[in-house]
């Protein structure tokens, strides 16, 4: 998902505040809870898109206040007040990223031509974790167009050991050697 600059700012503010108050995990839990709530409830979804006035703020307070920590609830109101309710998912993603950095966790994606067996995936996760000295969560994605091998992606980095890439390089190599 593409995280816009705006969402990054909200995430940064929320994260720093949560860190100061030592409530990172609580806020994270609340955020997750809130997103599932919204996702399962289309009425709430459309209600949140409406501009916030006194009346609606009261309704939201009645509805949600008791479920969340005070900090998260305030954050919710600020976002709604600023008419940025469409940013919630992006903010959450960025927020999680910041938690990952804090806890030295790493989300990586392994793209392969066919689904990886569980034991190999586990082995790979361990290897990568050893190598990068981080707590790694490895997802497997299948893309037959890479023919074989593996593409490993995390953050902005890519380790491309796929067959399609090798073929591409070989093609370039052969063209270069033409007289």
């Amino acid at each position: 998902m593409i995280v816009t600059a705006n969402a990054k700012r909200y995430a940064k503010a929320l994260f720093e505040l949560a860190q100061e108050k030592n409530q990172v995990d609580e806020v994270h839990r609340d955020f997750e809870k809130f997103l599932t709530l919204v996702k399962d409830n289309s009425d709430l979804q459309s209600f949140l898109l409406l501009p916030l006035d006194q009346e609606r703020q009261r309704i939201i307070s009645d509805l949600l206040k008791n479920y969340f920590t005070e900090m998260f609830f305030n954050f919710l109101l600020v976002v709604l007040k600023n008419k940025r309710s469409q940013l919630f998912e992006q903010i959450f993603e960025e927020f999680e990223k910041r938690i990952d950095v804090l806890k030295n966790r790493l989300c990586a994606v392994a793209i392969t031509a066919f689904p990886l067996p569980a034991d190999i995936l586990a082995q790979m996760t361990r290897d990568i974790a050893d190598h990068l000295n981080a707590d790694v969560r490895l997802d497997n994605k299948v893309d037959p167009s890479i023919i074989g091998g593996i593409i490993l992606r995390f953050d902005d980095k890519m380790f491309n050991a796929s067959l399609s890439q090798q073929f591409k390089k070989m093609k370039y190599h052969l063209i270069q050697n033409q007289k």
């Binding site: 593409i2 995280v3 816009t4 600059a5 990054k8 992606r153 902005d156 980095k157 890519m158 380790f159 491309n160 050991a161 890439q165 090798q166 390089k169 070989m170 190599h173 052969l174 050697n177 007289k179």
Partner: protein
């Protein structure tokens, strides 16, 4: 020669065997938007400004706008196959072009890739296209002449090596011709020439290349071509890669001449790119850094100090004006950057005075020091004659009754104007120019009818070449007209005009 299939497969086999599998970490982002020669990329958090980035299908780009949540890139290739979500790789390199002797005689695109079908360019060195201009300590004043081979310029608007002289005028009145003739005249002068065509018609450029080939000028010339149908980013970088190629020669103690034809189209290309990257428009919708765009390019022309080898890079930028409007934005900018300008005027051009240089408005701010002494000696008189002629010319239209002195000045001026006319693609060595101007300033032409002047000039040069060949040689060698030489020249002129008048 017969090619055996076996041979080819063996070679291929060996190549495939030797092919080393290398994989390393790459930093990637993804395209969020592409079109009009630019792409916006998400990710690439660590990309540098003006770093080269690689798109799929072998298209390269340059990161120009580093924004909070995306990177604006210009594309140096077709965006036809690029789509949203495609990966974009960092290369970690800043844009560079091949430079060196290997480039000489080639027609290349602004990336330095050959376009002439003469095989790959095996350059040993690469220079970054955006290089910092040299500081004051590394330079010295311009002191050697760069002979253009055009009488009107070499005598009155002399250009020195390391100078930046603007050629300015309306369309179709011979701006490029002056630059091309200058390149033709560099034959045997140890000057490497780079002709940068920016946004020009393919047919025009092929004609230029053909002219170079016919006159043997391709032996020391590189042509950088960005045609009108090339993407604007290509046109934008063309002069910078030209400057980089010229700088190679400059930094190695040799001399180079770079023609930018033309900078108004370059400004248009940059305007397009800037507007698409959503940089705020300013006057005439050009971005705010349009002045810096040209000043940083032209500042790279320099004459190096002797400690650094004394090489030079001369720049001849060309700017096209619209309907003679010299006070438009781009012309005034470039005029203020350069060390002088050559004004071309349509009225002169259509009046049959070609090259149509307005010598009254044209100046060369530093070239005077570079002019050889012999030329200075004859040109002083020429300039005076022409200035007096211009003053009287308008005034003479009103009255037919003029005194003798005025009439003499007018007829001298007419003949001087006639003598400065020159055909296209016929540059003249400086010693011949001196001889011809000497003939005029001595008054040997005053009795000859105006329409016969050009024939007389032609015959005079033939005469002097056959009768007194060492005279021209002496001017070229001593670079000065001493009393002895002046007496000899005088007598030759008298002899010749006597025989011509008969």
């Amino acid at each position: 020669m017969e090619v055996k299939a076996q041979e080819i497969s063996t070679i291929l086999k060996r190549q495939i065997e030797q092919y080393a599998v290398t994989t390393e970490f790459e930093e990637v982002g993804e395209i969020i938007q592409v079109g009009d020669g630019i792409a916006r990329v998400y990710g690439l958090e660590n990309v540098m400004s003006s770093e080269l980035v690689e798109f799929p299908h072998g298209v390269f780009g340059m990161a120009l706008n580093l924004e909070e949540d995306n990177v604006g890139c210009i594309l140096f290739g077709s965006e036809k196959y690029l789509k949203e979500g495609d990966p974009v790789k960092r290369t970690g390199k800043v844009m560079q072009v091949p430079v060196g002797e290997e480039m000489v005689g080639r027609v290349v695109n602004p990336l330095g890739q050959p376009l002439d079908g003469k095989g790959p360019i095996k350059a040993k060195e690469f220079y970054q296209i955006e290089r910092k201009a040299l500081g004051v300590v590394a330079r010295q004043p311009v002191k050697e002449p760069l002979q253009t081979g055009i009488k009107a310029i070499d005598s009155m608007i002399p250009i020195g090596r390391g100078q930046r002289e603007l050629i300015i005028g309306d369309r179709q009145i011979g701006k490029s011709t002056i630059a091309i003739d200058t390149i033709l005249n560099q034959k045997g002068q140890n000057v490497y020439c780079i002709y940068v065509a920016i946004g020009q018609k393919g047919s025009t450029i092929s004609k230029v290349v053909k002219t170079f080939e016919e006159h043997g000028a391709m032996e020391y010339t590189t042509v950088i071509l960005s045609a009108a149908n090339d993407p604007a980013p290509m046109q934008y970088i063309a002069p910078y890669s030209g400057a980089a190629m010229g700088e190679y020669f400059r930094d190695n103690g040799r001399h180079a001449l770079c023609v930018y034809d033309d900078l108004s189209k370059h400004a248009w290309a940059y305007r397009q790119v800037s507007l698409l990257l959503r940089r705020p428009p300013g006057r005439e919708a050009y971005p705010g850094d349009i002045f810096y765009l040209h000043s940083r390019l032209l500042e790279r022309a320099a004459k190096l100090s002797d400690e650094l080898g004394g090489g030079s890079l001369t720049a001849l930028p060309i700017v096209e004006t619209q309907a003679g409007d010299f006070s438009a934005y781009i012309p005034t900018n470039v005029i203020s950057i350069t060390d002088g300008q050559i004004y071309l005027e349509p009225s002169l051009f259509y009046g049959g005075i070609r090259p149509s240089i307005n010598v009254g408005l044209s100046v060369s701010r530093v070239g005077g020091n570079a002019q050889i002494k012999a030329m200075k000696q004859v040109a002083g008189k020429l300039r005076l004659d022409l200035a007096q002629y211009r003053e009287l010319e308008s005034f003479a239209k009103f009255s037919s009754e003029l005194d003798k002195a005025t009439q003499a000045q007018l007829s001298r001026g007419q003949r001087m104007v006639e003598i400065l006319k020159q055909d296209q693609n016929k540059p003249m060595p400086v010693e011949k120019q001196i001889a011809v101007i000497f003939l005029g300033t001595q008054g040997c032409l005053d009795l000859v009818p105006v329409h016969q002047i050009q024939r007389m000039e032609h015959e005079f040069l033939q005469y002097i070449e056959t009768k007194q060949p060492d005279l021209l040689k002496r001017i070229a060698e001593t670079k000065e007209i001493d009393d002895n030489l002046q007496a000899q020249l005088n007598s030759v002129c008298r002899e010749f005009s006597a025989s011509f008048n008969e």
